[in-house]
C-alpha cells in the first residue's frame, strides 16, 4: 500500500488528487473511471477538511493498493470527530432551483461514484474505505 499523509487543509487537495490519479492509472482504469474516483476522493477529503477538526488543525492519510488481481483499495483516515459520512441522508435531487440547497451533495456524489464503500471507527480514527473493481472488458481506446 502506498500512502500519503498531509494536513487536513484545502491546500492538500491537489497532492492527494495527483497521488490517487497516479495509483489508479497504474492500476489500469479508464480515464472516466479515474475521474469518478478522484471526485469521490475530493468529496471525502473536503468533508474532512471542513468538518473533522472543529478545534483547528488536523491530518488526513490516504492509502492505496491492490487487493488481489482485480481490486484496488483506497483508505482515507482522519483523527477527527466521529463521523460516518455514509449514513448521511441524500439530498432531494428533484427539488427545483429555489428549493435546492447545498447540503449533502458531496457525500451523495461520493457514494454514487463508489458502489462499494465502508466506514469504521478504529483507534480514535475515522476510516473510510473505497473498494474499486477493475471492469472485466477494458476498452483500451479512451
Amino acid at each position: 500500500m502506498e500512502e500519503l499523509n498531509l494536513p487536513a487543509d484545502l491546500k492538500s487537495l491537489k497532492r492527494f488528487t495527483d497521488f490517487i490519479e497516479e495509483q489508479t492509472r497504474t492500476f489500469g482504469l479508464k480515464v472516466t473511471r479515474i475521474m469518478e474516483i478522484s471526485l469521490a476522493l475530493e468529496e471525502a477529503l473536503v468533508n474532512i477538511f471542513v468538518h473533522a477538526y472543529p478545534e483547528g488543525e488536523g491530518w488526513v492519510q490516504v492509502r492505496c493498493g491492490p487487493r488481489g488481481d482485480d481490486r484496488l483499495v483506497i483508505e482515507i483516515r482522519d483523527g477527527g470527530i466521529p463521523f460516518n459520512s455514509i449514513v448521511r441522508p441524500d439530498p432531494d435531487t428533484t427539488e427545483g432551483i429555489d428549493e435546492r440547497t447545498e447540503g449533502g451533495l458531496g457525500i451523495f456524489l461520493m457514494k454514487k461514484m463508489i458502489p462499494v464503500i465502508e466506514y469504521r471507527r478504529e483507534n480514535d480514527m475515522n476510516v473510510l474505505t473505497f473498494l474499486i473493481t477493475k471492469e472485466q472488458a477494458e476498452d483500451e481506446k479512451e
Binding site: 475521474m35 435531487t93 428533484t94 427539488e95 435546492r100 451533495l105 451523495f108
Partner: protein, 110 residues
Amino acid sequence: MDISGEKVDKGVVVSVTGRMDAVTSPDFEKEMDRWIEDGEILFVVDLKSLDYISSSGLRSILSIAKKLKARKGKILLASLKNVVKEVFEISGFSTIIPLYESLDTAMSDL
C-alpha cells in the same frame, strides 16, 4: 482552471477549462460576480474543455443561477462531457440548469 469571458451582443460567453473543484470553484464565482456587477445577466458557459466538476463546482453554479434568477437573468451551460455530464445528471442539476449540446444551440436560446 482557466476562465475567460467575452461579451457578445446577446450576452456573455464564459469559457471554463480544466477542473472546477473545491480550490478553483471560488474563482468561477468571482469572475461571474464581476460580470454581474457590470450589469450583465445573460450568460452561456462553454464547458467543452471542462474535464471535471465536484460538488463545490455545482454549488458555485447554483449560487450564480439563483443570483441571476433574482435579476431575471439566465445561465445556460453548453457542451458538457463525460464525468461533468454524469455529475449534473446524478445530482439532478440537469433539470434545474439548462444544458445544451453545443455553444450554438445554447446561444440560439439566450
